[in-house]
Symmetry: C2
Subunit: 342 residues, 2 copies
DNA sequence: TAATTTATTGCAATCGATTGCATTATATTG
DNA sequence: CAATATAATGCAATCGATTGCAATAAATTA
């Protein structure tokens, strides 16, 4: 290990000045002469100085790091949201610690402990699918760490920002569209109802059926974790015994894609014999054959907004009351081939 | 801000003992009585103590954090690799800082500075596509931070572990397969040749043509950044003017999918009139219609291996010589519909 | 009981950067 | 030139956990 570590003391010794002067010079403090600043910067470069954030964080009580906890990064939605978060963070000199809960409650709790121990300045989180206890959130807040929820939010915790989309509206749009296209027996691949977003999507689906004068058949609604396997399995289950559905409105896009794949593999024509609409876009939604109609969420915007709100809370000056609230962004239906037989 | 911060001093005061005793108790030090340990742990819990990693890191000179720099997390390959890295890291008490270079050299350099400033104990990196200068890697190593490259590695830096797949072999497999299936004019959507992996894939492609007695036509090889747009664009370019190719061997899977989408949209039948093989799997490869033949890489294994090697280097006891080398894992051809007309 | 081990615990310095206050150098004014 | 204002720099404490060494308490032995 050529573990060289150059500190401000080395620079100070080199120049025969005080470390405090070096510190101020590096931080461009107003009370240090321009001449000294230049010399310090020069020597810092020569010696290969790298500021130690740990030391800074220890004394300033902030790490300039924000934690992000999402179920998984390999989903387009979360990856895009993270991109948005990173953008805002790096613009403001913050580093982002990205963690995956893999949709496991226990892992989520662990991650929170780690983040707190690492003294992140704030946490942005989208709940694991089976998170139904919230003490880890409370603990973070008690420790003084601001929290922002996005997508899968936690209603039991108040006084935090929550960034969501209008899930009801999105589901309503998607389902209505299928109804308009003439589909009569629209199934819904739903997420577990412990999550508000999935309750809302189910509600939007129901309302759309109602408004289209279609009967609501609870046998056509299946609850699952929304994996690709779930999509295939549910499609198989529903299509085996007639009368099956003639369309699927799916609570995410993975299940839309996999349900469609199942149909196509069993010689069911999409969209002629089977309509498909998914919630949230994947990169490939437009590339599939047929391309998949989807409710588009402003993923990246949700990320930037979440980060902005978090930084707002972190840096709030008089520790005054922020206007915490749920911010619901609009969705947009991207109509493609999978739902338009005509 | 109810910014409570409980330190070991608070525990010490509460119990009327020394902070050093508290520290040792919490670390389960052998020279502290079991009775004291229990009391300390109890009080720590009561007071809501959270160890401050910054302080620990400052004095032990290690942060128990490793940095990961990848082009983007929304690609299946990188997401899976990260999952592997996280697994090993968390098993060993390490936290992972995930960063996206977005395939930009400048961003990659910036990220390295941030990681160094945050005193990560090591860095795992897959190069941005246009990284052709390597001073940031050298700087990290000079600072004593171990480095492991994976996938897109840097040959100019020696004495580091490099985890790759047998790119030549994979490309050879994929291309030979197309030849065996009777395709004669096999195009190659290639990555920029500044990256070794793309040079190797091109080489494997060429060798396969040679061994199949097919002519090598440089007009059928197109270099790009391998985005979906690139795939579509190149497919369009090559297919407009006959004689176009009758198959595509693509250096990644996104371009395979988008090239296939272009073909299907222009009423070219896949695989009857056009064969497609991609490198590296995406989640949807098997779900597409037709499903996409791909060279499978052991993504997660690459991640675990990279993390293991990194930790090995971080924790090497006598700072002895490690047997640095490039480790090349095998690939596997997953044959699906897009390449098998018969 | 005194002497010697051994088991526990405490003291105090340390990591590196920050910052309020004191001090010195320089500039301005009467 | 003395007196005051202003600019520039230094001193020293601080953040919280760790750790070598010293000190004390408890246990063992002579």
């Amino acid at each position: 290990m050529s573990n060289k570590k150059v500190s401000i003391y080395d620079i100070a010794d080199y120049l025969g000045i005080a470390s405090s002067t070096v510190s101020r010079a590096l931080n461009d403090h107003a009370r240090i002469s321009e001449k000294t600043k230049e010399e310090v910067r020069r020597v810092a470069k020569v010696l290969g100085f790298e500021k130690n954030h740990l030391a800074t964080g220890l004394i300033t009580n902030q790490s300039l790091t924000i934690g992000v906890v999402v179920p998984a990064v390999n989903r387009n939605f979360f990856a895009s949201a993270i991109t948005g978060i990173e953008k805002i963070a790096s613009e403001n000199g913050y580093t982002v610690l990205i963690c995956q809960s893999h949709d496991l409650y226990d892992r989520e709790v662990e991650l929170f402990d780690t983040l707190i121990a690492n003294r992140v300045d704030g946490i942005i989180v989208s709940l694991a699918i089976n998170t139904e206890q919230f003490d880890h959130f409370r603990k973070a807040r008690d420790t003084g760490i601001p929290l922002v929820f996005f997508d899968r939010v936690c209603d039991e915790i108040e006084d935090t920002f929550k960034i969501v989309v209008k899930d009801f509206e999105g589901a309503y749009l998607g389902t209505s569209h299928l109804a308009e296209q003439g589909f009569k027996r629209i199934a819904h691949i739903a997420g577990y109802q412990s999550q508000k977003i999935f309750r809302d999507r189910l509600a939007g689906y129901k309302q759309a059926l109602l408004d289209a004068n279609l009967p609501y058949d609870e046998k056509l609604v299946k609850y699952c974790q929304l994996t690709t396997e779930d999509g295939t399995g549910i499609a198989e289950e529903l299509l085996q015994h007639p009368p099956g559905p003639d369309a699927f409105f799916c609570a995410n896009n993975l299940t839309a894609i996999s349900a469609m794949a199942y149909a196509l593999n069993h010689h069911i024509k999409v969209p002629q014999e089977m309509g498909i609409v998914g919630f949230s876009e994947e990169t490939v939604s437009s590339l599939l054959k047929p391309s998949v109609t989807s409710v588009r969420q402003p993923c990246e915007e949700m990320g930037t907004l979440a980060a902005q709100k978090l930084l707002e809370e972190i840096n709030q000056e008089p520790a005054g009351q922020l206007d915490f609230k749920e911010i619901a962004l609009s969705t947009e239906l991207i109509v493609r081939e999978s739902s338009t037989p005509h």
